[in-house]
């Protein structure tokens, strides 16, 4: 909410124009909608005019001829009905255009989010990104649907009323022009004060909700420390302030909204009646014109009320728009690849050459890492939390850009391959096997619809997942709910394996799950892992050392450095860090005691 204060008039205008530029692709539809709007406005204006003709030409002189009256009556009713029908289409059309504009804006920002690097996601809470994509665009929708269409429609009607007034009586219409500055004055006063008080109330409300939500989350703390009374008091204070802000809003609305506009209406009446009254003292007056003027006056103020009520929505939309555009203008893009390149990964060898890397540009999390994985070999990374294992994988997957050193695939820098080539040939299995909403099959194919049912099943069989999937309700069509919470963590892992195998990568990158996995699936996982690695260059993070005993090379990392390297047997013989880690996981109590002494 405070962000409005930071937006200057000029910035607000820029945001508005940029939002309006989204209407461009809808020019044709807009023209149609405007045409409909013009016709309905004309219909709106015609009604009182017809009555005026009736009063002045037929009723007052007592000249009631049947034929013309039928025509007059029929056209009055006809205009009413046609106008109302067209009004419906015009209202729908405007909203439709607004919704389509928002659709475009949403897709734009979602596309943009996908092009950003992981660094952005590390720095920004997921909730706030989601809120930009959905809630902020929703606020902008409100502006397009209600504010802009209300303003356009009201503006048209007001202009039409004035034009008709001028046609009926130029002098009187000129008198009526004094409404314009008056209404503008009330509007700007209202905008000035209400936006201030309205924002104040919103701010209080969000404080109130924040307090409530925090209290609900920390209720056990509040209770165990006996602070119920004090927090009740604090809540009551905020509530009181919110109440006061609410009362202020009611007062401002009461002073400047409907009652004020109604007062201006009375003023208008006085002008019109005086004008006709005074004129009638000297010359005859057409009563029908009086009727028409009074009737127009009544219609004049409804659009004004409508416009005033929408002003606060406009303010919110501009703030939301500014936030959305800030993301659209972000430049922290994902690390670039050479998209022109048609290099392809044939062998699948990987080499890290003197790689040094830092997330924040200050503290190096990887220091001078070098190693080679020849085609088909398995390189295992072990080490304590924070030793740099995951960073190696993050760089290999091109989630982050590195500056010093290089990563070579088939002897060429990884940057020289196109993104599609890398994604095709490299498969990553994450520690947390993220499952999406949808069926088990959807989770194996992801969006790759070329995969046949046989291929999906084959992949599942290959990773030992077929047996348990078949037992699920609806087997491959089993619905995955709440990120797969109904499946065991081992089962989720197997589905993630199948997903990777279905894509048939040349290089496999594994981040082993740390979670406890039931012994039954554990066995399946181990068998699957061994099969998957066969014939593929594999880089694996291992938490359980038993799983990587056959690795061609084991790298032991500590604080970003490779402190030990070799095969399982070599490292055990070394009697260093790896040896201790191995004991920790597999040693019996007496062995532990030996080492500790």
């Amino acid at each position: 909410m405070e962000e409005t204060a930071q937006l200057t008039e000029k910035e607000q205008k820029n945001v508005l124009f940029r939002l309006l530029s989204y209407t461009k692709p809808h020019k044709k539809e807009l023209i149609l909608a405007f045409t409909l709007l013009v016709i309905t406005t004309l219909g709106e204006l015609a009604g009182p005019l017809l009555v005026k003709i009736f009063i002045d030409d037929y009723l007052t002189p007592g000249n009631l001829v049947f034929g013309p009256l039928i025509i007059l009556g029929a056209s009055y009713l006809g205009i009413q009905i046609v106008k109302s029908l067209l009004m419906f289409f015009q209202l729908v059309k405007f909203q439709e255009i607004a919704l389509k504009i928002i659709q475009q804006l949403r897709v734009d920002i979602f596309t943009k989010v996908h092009s950003l690097g992981l660094k952005y996601f590390d720095q920004t809470p997921a909730g706030s990104i989601v809120s930009r994509v959905t809630n902020d665009t929703e606020a902008i929708k409100d502006m397009f649907v209600t504010v802009i269409s209300t303003f356009i429609q009201s503006g048209f009607l007001l202009a039409g009323i004035f034009i008709t007034m001028f046609i009926l009586d130029v002098k009187l219409a000129l008198f009526c022009l004094i409404f314009i500055p008056l209404i503008l004055l009330v509007m700007s006063l209202y905008r000035k004060y209400s936006s201030r008080y309205y924002l104040d109330m919103r701010e209080r409300l969000s404080q109130l909700n924040a307090k409530l939500s925090e209290s609900l989350q920390g209720m056990s703390i509040i209770q165990v420390f006996r602070q119920e009374k004090r927090l009740r008091k604090e809540f009551e204070d905020i509530n009181e302030k919110h109440y006061n802000a609410g009362m202020k809003n009611i007062k401002i609305d009461g002073l400047l909204l409907r009652p004020a506009v109604d007062l201006i209406f009375i003023l208008g009446l006085i002008i019109v009646l005086n004008y006709f009254g005074l004129t009638s003292l000297n010359s005859p007056v057409e009563i029908g014109v009086l009727y028409a003027f009074v009737n127009y006056l009544e219609r004049f103020f409804e659009p004004v009320n409508n416009m005033m009520m929408r002003l606060s929505l406009y303010q919110q939309a501009i703030v939301a728009g500014a936030r959305v555009f800030r993301i659209l203008d972000k430049e922290e893009l994902a690390p670039p690849q050479n998209e022109e390149s048609n290099l392809s990964i044939e062998e699948g060898s990987i080499e890290f050459k003197n790689l040094t890397f830092s997330y924040d540009g200050q503290r190096d999390v990887l220091k001078n890492i070098s190693f080679t994985a020849r085609p088909g070999e398995t390189v295992a990374l072990v080490g304590h939390t924070g030793s740099g294992k995951s960073s190696i994988i993050n760089l290999l997957m091109r989630f982050y850009e590195y500056e010093k050193g290089d990563i070579l695939v088939d002897g060429k820098s990884i940057r020289d391959f196109s993104k599609d080539e890398l994604r095709d040939k490299m498969g990553l299995v994450l520690q947390d096997p993220f499952l999406f909403f949808g069926s088990v099959r959807d989770n194996i194919t992801l969006h790759n619809h070329h995969l046949t049912d046989e291929q999906v099943e084959e992949a599942a069989k290959f990773v030992q997942a077929h047996t348990f999937i078949e037992k699920l309700e609806d087997s491959y069509n089993h619905k995955v709910v709440e990120r797969g919470s109904t499946l065991s963590s081992g089962q989720r892992q197997l589905i993630a394996f199948a997903r990777t195998i279905a894509a048939n990568p040349k290089i496999l990158v594994l981040d082993e799950a740390t979670a406890n996995i039931d012994t039954e699936t554990e066995e399946a996982i181990q068998t699957a892992l061994a099969k998957m690695r066969k014939g593929r260059t594999t880089i694996a993070i291992a938490h359980r050392l038993s799983t990587i005993q056959d690795a061609d090379l084991i790298l032991v990392l500590h604080q970003g450095e490779i402190v030990e390297r070799g095969t399982h047997q070599e490292l055990l013989a070394l009697g260093g860090l790896y040896h201790k880690m191995f004991l920790l996981q597999n040693g019996a109590v007496d062995r532990l005691e030996d080492v500790m002494q």
């Binding site: 009004m87 909700n209 920390g218 165990v224």
Partner: protein
């Protein structure tokens, strides 16, 4: 309309405001009749050529008076009626909050925070609508509608009034019907929107998977489809929304047509003057709002009733943990004795604790260890009376927990929970949570004891740095130590640390424990921990497994035992070594 009866207590409480507000509304309704009447009279005078300047100014003065009168009165009824409605929501919100603070954990186990929030926000705003806009529309549509119809019928022509009113009820019926449809379709559109929200959330949480499989384009396509669905459902809403204006316009048009057609007939027969006819059509214009309002009224009241029922049901819930009569009004102190035969969480089948019995003397330290889910935290929760339905008993100083007033019992216990929850307030306020007026030195010394003082001084605003959800982000270890300082500030009879040192390193843990040993001289301390080093010095250590005590004794006794404790101890020692690179 039953909701107005349900809210009767509030209308009674605010009867002054409501009675005067309604009286003013009625008066405004009468004043509203003036302008059309004046228009009619002036028109007739003009038509008859009987108008004089004096006459004109007289009527204008009346008009000015009526205009200003209405402006002032309209301002006041708003304050009275809308103001009372805002007051109602304030009052209910306070009641809800107070109620929430009285409810025990079993209440919170059954409900999600989001749902409780929804009651305090959406439901209250629906109730506020009922007490404000609901009362207004009811009174205003009846009074304005009534007086206008009476004025038309009695001062102009009852025949013409009857004829012109024929189309009006359709407006009320149709708008009410549209309202129901709008509510339903809007609900669907909201659901589609919330699906889109979930989809976005999922894409962002799963961004790594999407990037790994290079499926950005496909995911965007999927998003576009869902977003299209939102658009389609909103267009349905838009269509119903767009029905209102045209419907009103047609019905009003027909009504006007009837007025003019039949009105002119009466003018020609001399039953009406032209001025009266003009006044009549202006009155007709005044009827649009009450009819519309009547349609709305049903929708407002319907929603208000559902919301009020939900809030009232929530307020009716009773807390299951209360003081018994004549409970002891003293802060408990003395030896603690546990004898729990069996405890099962409400709604669970398997008991969480079985046959747990032990004693600790005042001033001693108890250590509780065991795997996750062994029942360590549960044991502590029973001590602070978060749950009660167990077989057996717990005594402090010879009295069972239930003998003491709940407030006194909790005054004796300084609890540091596992999930270190801090409030969005300054560090100082968080530490001085139990007593905001405590002098700064005490806050500092509690912070020093918890080994967080130096960290705090490094923060940008020192002790005034705002932490919690909307403040700076602290490391888990810092949060834990602030929670410890918060409990230490009470200087409680019993200090309970529920695995509260898990996120600090071994050196800091040792520093905190040793300062605690000095500071807690003569007072009881209970520590649960995964890391055995935290409880090594305890007078009694319990090893829990599946809710049962499987080993008990001092560190030395347990090390001689060659059981779970010893193996775990050695393992943790080695782990520590590995963490430090093996040296």
């Amino acid at each position: 309309m039953r909701v107005f009866l349900d809210l009767g207590w509030f209308f009674k409480q605010e009867k002054k405001a409501y009675i005067s507000g309604i009286a003013i509304l009625l008066f405004v309704a009468l004043l509203q009749l003036v302008p059309p009447k004046v228009i009619g009279i002036i028109a007739d005078h003009i038509n008859d050529g009987t108008l004089t300047k004096g006459l004109l100014f007289e009527w204008m003065a009346i008009l000015v008076g009526a205009g200003i009168g209405m402006y002032v009165l309209r301002y006041f009824w708003r304050i009275m009626i809308f103001g009372s409605a805002v007051k109602l929501s304030k009052q209910l919100r306070n009641q809800l909050y107070q109620h929430f603070t009285n409810m025990s954990p079993s209440f919170y186990q059954k409900r999600r925070t989001g749902d409780l929030m929804a009651h305090a926000t959406n439901d209250l705003s629906a109730i506020q609508q009922t007490a404000g806009a609901g009362v207004l529309t009811l009174v205003d549509s009846l009074s304005t509608g009534g007086t206008v119809i009476l004025a038309m019928a009695f001062t102009i022509s009852w025949k013409l009034t009857l004829i012109c009113l024929i189309p009006m009820p359709f407006m009320a019926i149709l708008t009410s019907w549209f309202g129901t449809m709008l509510h339903r379709t809007f609900h669907k559109a909201q659901e589609a929107f919330s699906d889109l929200n979930d989809k976005t959330q999922e894409s962002i949480s799963g961004i790594k998977v999407i990037k790994t499989f290079g499926q950005e384009k496909e995911d965007i396509e999927d998003f576009r489809k869902q977003s299209d669905d939102v658009v389609q459902k909103n267009i349905v809403v838009a269509k119903i929304d767009s029905l209102y204006d045209p419907t009103i316009s047609i019905i009003v048009g027909i009504s006007f047509f009837l007025a003019i057609t039949f009105g002119s007939k009466y003018v020609l027969t001399g039953e009406l003057t032209i001025g009266e006819l003009i006044a009549f059509t202006t009155y007709l214009g005044l009827l649009i709002w009450p009819m519309l309002a009547f349609g709305w009224l049903f929708n407002i009241v319907e929603r208000g009733r559902a919301s009020y029922d939900r809030v009232a049901a929530l307020l009716r819930e009773k807390s299951d943990i209360t003081d018994r009569e004549h409970a002891l009004d003293v802060v408990p102190s003395g030896d603690i004795h546990y004898d729990i035969k069996k405890f099962t969480f409400p709604g669970e089948k398997e008991p969480m604790l079985k046959d747990v019995a032990f004693s600790i003397n005042r001033g001693e330290t108890l250590g509780i260890v065991g795997k996750t889910g062994a029942g360590k935290t549960t044991l502590l929760k029973l001590l602070i009376r978060e749950f009660e339905d167990y077989e057996g008993g717990i005594t402090i100083g010879g009295h069972t927990l239930q003998d003491y007033k709940l407030e006194k019992l909790r005054e004796a216990i300084g609890y540091v929970p596992q999930d270190h929850f801090l409030f969005s307030a300054s560090v100082a306020e968080n530490i001085a949570f139990t007593n905001p007026l405590v002098p700064e030195e005490e806050i500092n010394s509690a912070a020093r004891l918890a080994n967080i003082h130096d960290d705090i001084l490094q923060f940008t605003d020192g002790y005034q740095t705002v932490v919690g959800e909307r403040g700076v982000s602290l490391s888990g270890g810092q949060k834990q130590r602030i929670s410890i300082a918060r409990a230490l500030l009470m200087n409680p009879e019993v200090l309970v640390l529920d695995d509260s040192l898990s996120a600090v390193d071994a050196k800091t843990e040792e520093a905190i424990l040793s300062s605690l040993r000095k500071n807690r001289e003569g007072k009881t301390t209970i520590i649960t921990s995964h890391r055995l080093s935290a409880i090594q010095h305890a007078n009694l250590i319990l090893v829990l497994e599946y809710g049962k005590v499987i080993e008990r004794g001092t560190h030395d006794e347990l090390m001689a035992n060659h059981g779970w404790y010893k193996e775990m101890y050695l393992r943790q020692q080695l782990e520590e070594l590995v963490e430090h690179g093996g040296h």
